[in-house]
Point group: C2
Chain length 584, copies 2
């Protein structure tokens, strides 16, 4: 028997009990005549004590022979500590050890197994099994477990059926790049790994399953950005015989359940909703962080015609009002200018206006705008004395995105983006289609199965770019946690959609024939949503990246540096699969 208890559960009421613990040596303190070992397992840390006044010499030496991360088994008695440690739950007691067994030795780990470690990113990735021992990582993994259980508990309770959809499916040209799997049995043919179970969950609706969910791995062969992984996990859901309202209500229920059970946060009333158009107008983002307002003010019409060439030549001029920042120093203001000029933001410059306490204004464009002009700006932006106006100009697209970043930066600086405050939001009525200048065709903004808003269906003939999708995103604190739509369930409408996306009927049939075919046999109205499970977990964990809520993540080059994958395979394997490496 390796243990009677774990290292996190012994308390003062257990004093006198004979116990056995197993775990890892976290720390050894050796005073010569006395020694302490902090023994760690998943559940906590318990202190072992050795004292030459009663510990046999042999046992004392054995304890001394232990090193960090050794796996040991200790038998002994729970005793009260003379100097208690109020920082850990087991801090009132320690174990007077009578027997010690070294279950396994450890080399000195390549980085310290502490909350703050000395190991760099790549080193910790290589020894991920050691990094997983650290509290901050462990917390994320345990949180993820708890969240998965709560998601399923809630959805099961709501009559959702968990169905596993296949992983070996078929490559489709639409969307991101697929990972493919050569078939040995069918030379020259390939499976593809799913980017999402989209078509399968729709088939389940056709099959009558009515409420489906799955926590499921999805795959995208993209060039990785900071917060992307080639394999990621979705909470994938679909419902039949529903309208948008039913779906939003159902999954608002799920979100509230998660906030309550995981974060102990309760929401009164419904989550706010905002149209895509409004979100872009007010915050320059389809996933606005509404923990704070500081919304955009369109100044294009207001500021032109004063001979300031930058404004006069700009397509779009807009600003935000940073409350109480009128006293910003030159250094702080210079930082903001540098911020908007960063290549990834890409603005040429920043116009700012300080609203002085005496009602006057001080701006970087005093040469072109007098006090009365600036007063109009201030009025338009609802500014009060002591506020700071930040104005950007340029093309609509670039200015919008830059001002969005600047707003978030100001929110950060003003402490308005508290990780423990949660502001959920439904963003609705996305555009159905996006025009791509390069390929001169429309792409589906969500995916080709998204239903247009009913009133807009006529626009397919006249102005497809204006069609609103019956789609919605679930946004929390500026993070897109989930998204979905009502789907097309009508074969004809689906064909129109494919046509609008530039598919010939033959191409549509070749790629999605099974779905179009299924729609011929009684497809019910349906819709659904998918949540980014990694991202949701990371947000609840308070992490900025998803990496630490994934047990074995890949690095930015899509490599698992621990197992050294991807790797070459044998010539026999290649031959069996009827493929050759293209040396180029």
């Amino acid at each position: 028997m390796y243990r009677t208890n774990n290292c996190g559960e012994l308390r003062i009421e257990h004093v006198g009990r004979e116990i056995v613990l197993s775990g890892w040596v976290q720390k050894i303190r050796d005073k010569g005549f006395m020694m302490w070992i902090d023994l760690r397992d998943r559940y906590g840390i318990t202190q072992l004590i050795f004292d030459e006044t009663y510990t046999p010499k042999e046992l004392m030496e054995k304890a001394r022979g232990c090193g960090r991360e050794f796996v040991i088994k200790a038998t002994g008695t729970v005793v009260e500590r003379s100097s208690k440690n109020p920082n850990i739950p087991t801090g009132d007691i320690e174990i007077k050890v009578t027997e010690l067994e070294i279950l396994n030795k450890s080399e000195v780990p390549p980085f310290t197994i502490e909350d703050e470690t000395d190991g760099g990113d790549e080193l910790r990735m290589k020894y991920r099994y050691l990094d997983l021992r650290r509290n901050p990582v462990k917390k994320g993994i345990l949180l993820r477990h708890k969240m998965a259980q709560e998601v399923r508990k809630y959805l099961d309770g709501q009559g959702f059926v968990e169905v596993e959809t296949p992983v070996l499916i078929k490559s489709t040209p639409e969307g991101a790049r697929d990972f493919v799997v050569p078939s040995r049995v069918h030379p020259g043919e390939f499976y593809a790994l799913p980017q999402s179970p989209q078509t399968f969950k729709q088939l389940l609706m056709v099959a009558g399953y009515d409420r489906y969910f799955q926590i499921v791995k999805c795959f995208r062969d993209e060039d990785l950005r900071a917060d992307r992984q080639p394999e990621f996990t979705q909470i994938d859901c679909e419902m039949a015989f529903v309208e948008r309202e039913d779906i939003l209500n159902t999954f608002e229920g799920l979100a509230k359940h998660m906030f309550k059970t995981i974060k102990n946060v309760e929401f009164q009333g419904d989550f706010p909703r905002m149209s895509y158009q409004k979100a872009m107008e007010l915050y320059g983002s389809d996933k606005p962080d509404i923990r704070f307002d500081m919304h955009f003010n369109d100044l294009t019409e207001t500021v032109k015609g004063k001979n300031f060439p930058v404004f006069d030549s700009a397509e779009f001029i807009a600003g935000i009002c940073a409350k109480g920042c009128g006293e910003y120093t030159r250094k702080q203001l210079d930082e903001l200018v540098l911020f908007v000029q960063k290549p990834q933001i890409g603005s040429k410059g920043l116009v700012y206006v300080k609203c002085n306490e005496d009602g006057t204004f001080k701006s970087t464009v005093d040469k072109f705008y007098n006090n009365d002009d600036l007063k109009i700006w201030a009025q338009k932006m609802n500014a009060a004395p002591g506020d700071l106006l930040l104005v950007l100009a340029g093309t609509k697209k670039q200015t919008t995105s830059a001002l969005c970043e600047l707003r978030l930066e100001m929110g950060e600086r003003l402490g308005l983006r508290d990780k423990n405050k949660f502001c959920p939001l439904w963003v609705v009525d996305f555009p159905l289609l996006e025009w791509d200048e390069e390929s001169k065709r429309f792409f589906a903004m969500h995916h080709p199965f998204t239903s247009p808003v009913k009133e807009d269906i006529g626009l397919f003939e006249t102005n497809p770019g204006d069609i609103r999708a019956n789609a919605y995103d679930f946004v929390v604190n500026g993070v897109e946690v989930g998204g979905g739509s009502i789907r097309i369930h009508d074969e004809k409408l689906q064909s129109t959609m494919f046509k609008t996306l530039g598919f010939t009927p033959e191409e549509a049939q070749a790629q999605f024939g099974f779905l179009l075919n299924a729609f011929k046999y009684g497809a019910p109205p349906h819709g659904g949503i998918a949540f980014g499970f990694d991202r949701w977990t990371a947000m609840f964990a308070g992490n900025d990246t998803i990496r630490d809520v994934i047990a074995f993540p890949k690095n930015n080059a899509a490599k698992d540096v621990m197992i050294d994958s991807p790797a070459t395979i044998s010539n026999e394997q290649l031959k069996e699969l009827s493929i050759k490496i293209d040396q180029k």
Copy 2:
């Protein structure tokens, strides 16, 4: 709003209520002046009634326009039926329809959506979304959902942490064939899909997670047999600081929980255990069906030396006693002879002995064995008058396997294999290694990480073939539902194991370096088990194959005939992935 209720829940107490139902048209009966539509959804069937005495003509015509599998929405009033149907839960009521909306039409389905359908296997696979509407398939899918929830509920309650292990891993030469995934970012390199998360769950133990589980997709590129799928699902579990006893107890707990919650079957006391050796001796199988005994009797020494060349030249002679089959007709006996002569059984012939009620015997070998001889056989086999002895001879291997099949066949014929009776069994102490004559090397019977039984470790030097593994299988009714082992956690022992399997240290390092490395940093003693989730579900569903408890299975050629996968991919894709098709 599409519905106020589902099609399975209305009862006599709802009479008078105004309701809305949506679903599929299961059946239409048209008497001219009256019409009934059976409306079906996931939850059941409700009868709609139309009667020209009160139904407007227009509505009557609309109802008449519906066909099988149309999706309709019906508004109306719950009324009591005049002639009730006791066979369905909603049989006391019907819906007097006031409004009808056809939500979607349906072409005539290619096979009937009935419990017994007229569709063949391939047709039903091609239209899987229609087959999934049929009750027998739906039951399996819903059962699978329920089992998944119960598995997680139990394991979560026992402190197990669900951790997702990666799907894009690395190919290893040991075991079955891997599916591989070419890397675009790293030309010439490949990921592999996991045959099981074995090494990752062991790394989680090294990482201190102590109790892990996951319901997880696994992949094997094998030539498919009847009950295999290229992707299948495992309940994968691992524990640290445990001995075999801890694992068997924990998962016996899980199994009992599943039997109780899913099948309402309760077991008193512990599940029986049997050594591999005993199982082979008594039943010729490492997964014996112990719903009935009919064990093997070794007659090799008993029957030789009577000038019967078949026996005298045989390596192994053994028989079973079929209770009460002494009256089998010539036709029945001929069937048994033909059975053992089938190519997949492969016996040359079958010797049988009828134990007559008068104490005499009648056999196919009366020429060589007199009544006294046969009496000795009967005594050895514990036969009583009225029994039938069935004896096979040949090589040990072939005879054992043929007699095992014959035993199961007799069990079937005697009705001893009741699907509603469950006889679980732990088979323990498997051999660690299997000798392969062709490649002249040992293979791991379980996998290379399985720990030998402690007492047998010395045999690595002298007789590796005799080493017993600390491994166990969970067998129910002759089906291997799960299997696992205590793992090696010592780097040196793991190296010895690799060496015995013919790996050079360099090969071992190249393939499993990350695991050997991990073992250097404090690996705890650990072990685990994995259950075949598809198979377990199929057994609880009473299905013979796993196919119908998988929503979208592949056929025996590893093809998804519904989506037509695998399929060719574009030349651009191949080029991006730096691979070419090897035309041969």
